[in-house]
Symmetry: C3
Subunit: 424 residues, 3 copies
C-alpha cells in the first residue's frame, strides 16, 4: 500500500526543477502536432503489434497520424494494463482530454483537444514548464544544424555511434569530410576531423558526448600503429575481419575518451541494445553479456578525469553498475533505460543505488523521449516511483525526510548541473 509519506513525497518532488539529460527531441519540432504522433511512439506500437495489430498496414506512415489511433481502437483494450498505456493516458489528460478510456465514441474528441493544445504557440515551453523541466539534452548527429536552437530549453549532446560502430563505412568518412571540408587519408586525419567536430560542439554549448553500444562490445587498448594499418585497409576499400573491425572500433572509442578528456566533456554510454531483432518490423531488443561493465575497467582506470555516465539495458547488471559507481570516482550511474523503465524495476534500482552509492554519483532520470509530451508521462512515472522508494527508505529509518528530499533534488537537478557543468 502507498503510504502517506510516499504521496507527500510525490507532491513535494513534483515541484522540484528537473534537467532531462537524454532525449531524442528535435529542437525545431520538440512537440507533436497530432495525438497520432504521440500514439505512434514505438513503445506503444510494439505493444499493439504484439497484441495482434498489423502495424505495418494499420499504422502506415503515409496515413494521417490520427488514423493510427482510429485503426488501433480494437487493440487498445489489450494493452491497457501496461505502464506505457498509463503514460499515454497521462499525456491525454495533460492535453486536456477528460475521459479515462478511448473508444469509437470519443477518439475524435481526443484528436481535436490534443491538436488544439499542441498547436498553440509555445506549447512545448508550456509543457516543459508544467513539469518543471528547465533543460532537455538533445541527441545530435555530428552534422546536425543547431541554428535557431532554443538555448533556454535545450542542451546539445554530440552522438558518436557512427564514428565507432560504422568506422569502416565510406559514408562515415564522407560525412566527416563534408563537415570539416577536409580530405581524410589516414587514421590521424580521421581523428583530427572528429576532434574538430567535437570542439565545434563544445563551442555550441554541447554538454556531453554520447554513444550507444551493443552488449558484446569489447573495450580495450589497440596500438596506434595497428589502428592506422587497419584504417589504411578501410581507406583502400578492403573488408576487415570481425576481429580487425572490433580492434578498430575500440581504438576509435578510446580516441573519443581522449577527446572527452581534452575537452572536459562527460561521456554518456548506453549499453546493451541489439538492433532489429524483429526482422519484419525492426523492433530493437537487448541481451546481456556478463562482461559488458567489466570491459570498461581499463578505461575507468586510464581516464580518471573523464566522467563516464553509464546506462544499462538489462536487469542483470544493474547491481554491478551501482558498485562501479561506488568504486570509481569517474563513474556515474544514470536513469532507467527503455526496457527497464517500469516501476517495479526502477524501484529496485533506486533502492540498490541509494543504499550503496553516494547520491552525488547518480543521475536519477532521463526521458529518452522524441516529443515533450512523452516527457510528461515519463517524469510523472519516475517521480511516483522515486517517492515510493524514498518513503520506504525513510520508513525503514535509513534517511530522514529532509535528506530524502535533498537526494531527490540532486537526482533530478543538482547532479546534472554538477556533472555536466551546466551554466544555467
Amino acid at each position: 500500500m502507498r503510504s502517506q509519506l510516499s504521496k507527500r513525497f510525490e507532491a513535494e518532488i513534483s515541484k522540484m526543477p528537473v534537467i532531462d539529460p537524454h532525449t531524442h527531441l528535435q529542437h525545431r519540432t520538440p512537440s507533436a502536432e497530432f495525438i497520432g504522433n504521440i500514439f505512434g511512439y514505438h513503445y506503444i506500437k510494439m505493444e499493439l503489434s504484439t497484441a495482434g495489430m498489423d502495424v505495418e498496414k494499420l499504422m502506415d506512415e503515409s496515413l494521417p497520424p490520427d488514423t493510427f489511433l482510429k485503426n488501433a481502437l480494437p487493440f487498445i483494450p489489450k494493452i491497457r494494463n501496461t505502464t506505457t498505456w498509463w503514460g499515454f493516458m497521462t499525456i491525454c489528460r495533460a492535453l486536456g482530454f477528460g475521459d479515462s478510456t478511448i473508444h469509437e465514441a470519443n477518439w475524435q474528441d481526443l484528436c481535436k483537444v490534443a491538436s488544439n493544445t499542441m498547436q498553440a504557440e509555445n506549447w512545448y515551453r508550456e509543457a516543459l514548464d508544467n513539469i518543471n523541466i528547465k533543460r532537455s539534452f538533445l541527441t545530435n548527429p555530428p552534422d546536425e544544424d543547431l541554428d535557431g536552437c532554443d538555448r533556454e530549453a535545450f542542451v546539445p549532446s554530440l552522438r558518436t555511434d557512427e564514428w565507432v560502430l560504422q568506422i569502416h563505412e565510406e559514408s562515415t568518412r564522407q560525412r566527416l569530410e563534408k563537415l570539416t571540408r577536409s580530405s581524410i587519408n589516414s587514421m590521424k586525419g580521421l581523428k583530427a576531423s572528429i576532434h574538430e567536430v567535437a570542439e565545434r560542439f563544445v563551442g555550441l554549448g554541447a554538454a556531453s558526448m554520447a554513444i550507444s553500444l551493443p552488449p558484446d562490445f569489447q573495450a580495450f587498448v589497440v596500438a596506434k600503429a595497428d589502428a592506422e594499418a587497419l584504417y589504411g585497409k578501410v581507406l583502400q576499400g578492403k573488408r576487415l575481419s570481425d576481429n580487425q573491425l572490433a580492434r578498430l572500433q575500440t581504438h576509435m572509442l578510446y580516441s573519443l575518451f581522449e577527446v572527452c578528456d581534452e575537452l572536459h566533456l562527460p561521456f554518456q554510454l548506453m549499453l546493451g541494445v541489439e538492433r532489429g531483432i524483429h526482422l519484419k518490423l525492426g523492433w530493437d531488443g537487448f541481451s546481456t553479456d556478463l562482461g559488458m561493465m567489466k570491459t570498461f575497467r581499463d578505461a575507468l582506470n586510464r581516464f580518471p578525469d573523464v566522467k563516464f555516465v553509464f546506462s544499462i539495458l538489462n536487469t542483470i547488471l544493474t547491481h554491478e553498475l551501482a558498485i562501479y559507481a561506488k568504486t570509481f570516482a569517474n563513474c556515474y550511474a544514470a536513469g532507467h533505460w527503455w526496457y527497464t523503465f517500469y516501476p517495479c524495476i526502477i524501484k529496485q534500482m533506486i533502492l540498490e543505488r541509494l543504499q550503496a552509492v553516494p547520491y552525488t554519483k547518480l543521475i536519477g532520470w532521463y526521458s529518452d523521449s522524441y516529443y515533450v509530451e512523452w516527457t510528461i508521462a515519463k517524469i510523472k512515472l519516475y517521480i511516483r516511483t522515486l517517492a515510493g522508494a524514498l518513503a520506504e527508505i525513510v520508513e525503514d529509518g535509513y534517511m530522514d525526510e529532509n535528506l530524502a528530499l535533498e537526494v531527490a533534488l540532486a537526482l533530478l537537478w543538482d547532479n546534472n548541473v554538477e556533472i555536466f557543468a551546466l551554466n544555467l
Copy 2:
C-alpha cells in the same frame, strides 16, 4: 503488510474459472490415494533430504506410502518454513484435516482422513471443482493410451522431448515405428512418423505440443541434406560427435515447429532444467545460459504463425522473456516454473510482466502437478500472490480495480482459451 484490497482481490480471484495448461496428471489416476503419495512429491522429498533425512531408506518406494510420512516426522519441523510445506498443510486442510501441525500423535488421523476423502467416488472432479479448475492439460508421451480419458476434465498435450533430445537413440525410433506400424529408414521417414503421431493427437483433442530443453540448447537452422546425412549415421548405429548431435537435435526441433505451423498447434517450451545434478538421489537442477532466450530469435521470426509459449527456470532471464513476449506477437510468457514457484519470485515476475507486456500475451499459472491435490496448494499460493501484485499496481495508480480483475481472469482463463483455441 497485506492490504485490504489484496485480501479482497484474493477472494474475488478465487471465484474465477481456471485452466491449468501444464500438469503431469495421469488421466486414469489423477488423484492420490494416500497422503503419503502427496507427501512423497519430489518438492517435499528434496526438502526432507536436504534437512538430513535419508530419503533412499526412509522413503523407499516399496514401503506403504503412509510409512513415508511416519518416517519423516522427525524431519518435518525443519522444513516448516518453506512455502512448499505451507502448500502441503493447505492440502491437508482441503482433505479435512483440522490440525495445524503433524506429529506422532496425529499423523495416523491425517492418513485416515486423507484416504477417506481421496478414495471417495469422483473425488478428483470435486477437488478440481472446489478450486474452479475447468480443464487441466496432460503431459502425454507419444504412445500414451488416451482411451477413456475424461474430456470434461483433461486436455491432451503431446510431449516431444524424446524426439529431439534422444533422436540418436534406437529406442526412440523403435517406439515411433511401433506406434505408426512403419519402418523408419531416413530422416524423411522419421518426420513422416512424427507428423502422423502429431496429427493423431490433434484428432484426440490435443491443444499443444510441449518440450523441456536444457539451458545450453542451441536452436538454429540445419540444412535438410546435412540432417539427412547425420540421421543416416544414426541409422547405421554410428556415434555422433557432440556437434553433430546438436545439429540433428535442432533440426528436429525446427521440424517440430513446422508441424506446429501446419497443424496450428501452440508449442509450450520449458527452458532451463538440468537433469540429475544430485548423482545419488537424482534431483534435477537448473543453470542459466545467457543465450537461452536469444537462441529462439530466428524461430520466432521464421514461424510467425506458431505460438511459442515459453517458461523459464531461473530468475536471471525472466525480464528478457517478458520483453520477448512484448516484442514478438507469436511469443507468450507462461507461469512460474518449479524453482521459481515461490511467492517473492512470482510477485516480481507478475509485476514486470504486467507493467511491460500486454496482458493477452501472458499465461498466469500452471500447476505442473502430478496429483490434483497439489494443484489445490499451487493455485491458492498463486492467487494470493497475484492478488498482492495486482493490489500494489492498483494502489500505485497504474490500473483500476475493474481492470485488475479483468486481467486476473485473462491470466487464469481467457488467455488459455484464446491461445490454445480451446473448445469449451
Copy 3:
C-alpha cells in the same frame, strides 16, 4: 511502510543470542582505539573516494587516525544517503555520541567520546555483549599466533586462500616449511604439511576452514600424478601456464576438501571477489561467471560428509545458491557478503531462501568486520531487515509468529552451533 509486526520482531530478535561466523577481528585488538579507525573502514573510504575525496592524501595511513575524520568533513554530506553511513552513525551512537550529524563543530567531541568508550577496560566484551554476540569467528592465516586468544569470545577459522591460489609461489611453501619445521619436496610433502597445520588448528578449537575464490575459479578433479608433476615444475622454479596453474589450484582445493572430510571441518567458501580492480587505490570488486556455483557440483556429490558453506558476491546467482542449498544436504547458504550487504538485496535474499530452503540449511548473517564496532552496525541492519522479511512472510500467511521467531533464532544462533559443532 514498516508494520507493527516488523517493529515487534525487530525488538524480539534483538534480544536473541548471536554467533558471528565470519569476521576479520584481530583477537588481540578486536576493538578500535579511535573513531578514525572505524571511519577508515574500506566501506566508508571507498564512498568518500568516489564522492571526490583524495583518500590517498587525506587519509594517509601515517596521519593520526582521527585526522581522517577531520579531513573528510567536507565529503561527509555526499555519502549521508548510504546504509554504510547509517551504520557509522549507529556506531557513533553506541559509543555515546548524541548528535545526528558530524561537522566542524562537533567532530572533536565525537573523537573524545569514542576514544573514552573504546579505550575502557574490556570494551570489546561489553560491545559484543550489548548486541548478544556470544562468539565471533576469526580469520586466521596458517601461521597466526593464537596464544592468549579469548576463547569465550572468539573461535578460530583457518584461512587457506594462499595454499590454493598462491600454490605456485615459493613463499607459500617456505611459510609452510617454517610452520611445520619440515622440508617440502613434493606435492605429497606439501599436503602432509597442510594436514599437519589443519590438525593443529582443530586442536586449537578451529571450527572451520575458509577460502575466498575468484568468480572464474574452476573446480574439477585432477589426477594425483598430474598434480605431482605440475608441483614438481613449481619446485624447480619453472613457470606454469595458466591452464597448468588452474589444474594445480583445483587439485589443491580438492585436497583441502579431503582434509575437511577427515577432520570433520566445515568449509566456508566465499565466491566472487576480484581483487584490485581500481588500480590506483586498490579497491576490490566482483564479477559474475554463470558457472561459479555449478563448478562445485562434482565436489558436493563427491564429499557428502563435508559441509560446504557458501557465500556469493553478486545478486545474479543468489537464487541458484538457494536452490543448491535445497538440493544438497551438505550445501549451506550463508549471509550477505560485502557488496550485497544492503537492505533491499538482503531482504530479497532472505525471502527467496526462507520460501525455498529448509531453514536449518541457512546461516543468516556474519559481520565480516575488522573491529567489533562495525559488528554493531551490521547486526542491527541485518536484524531490522530480517524482521521486515519475516513480518511480510507472516502477514502473507506462510508462517505464524512463533515459527518466524524460531527461524530467526536458528539463522542467528542454532544453525551456527549445529553446522560448526560449537561446544558452548
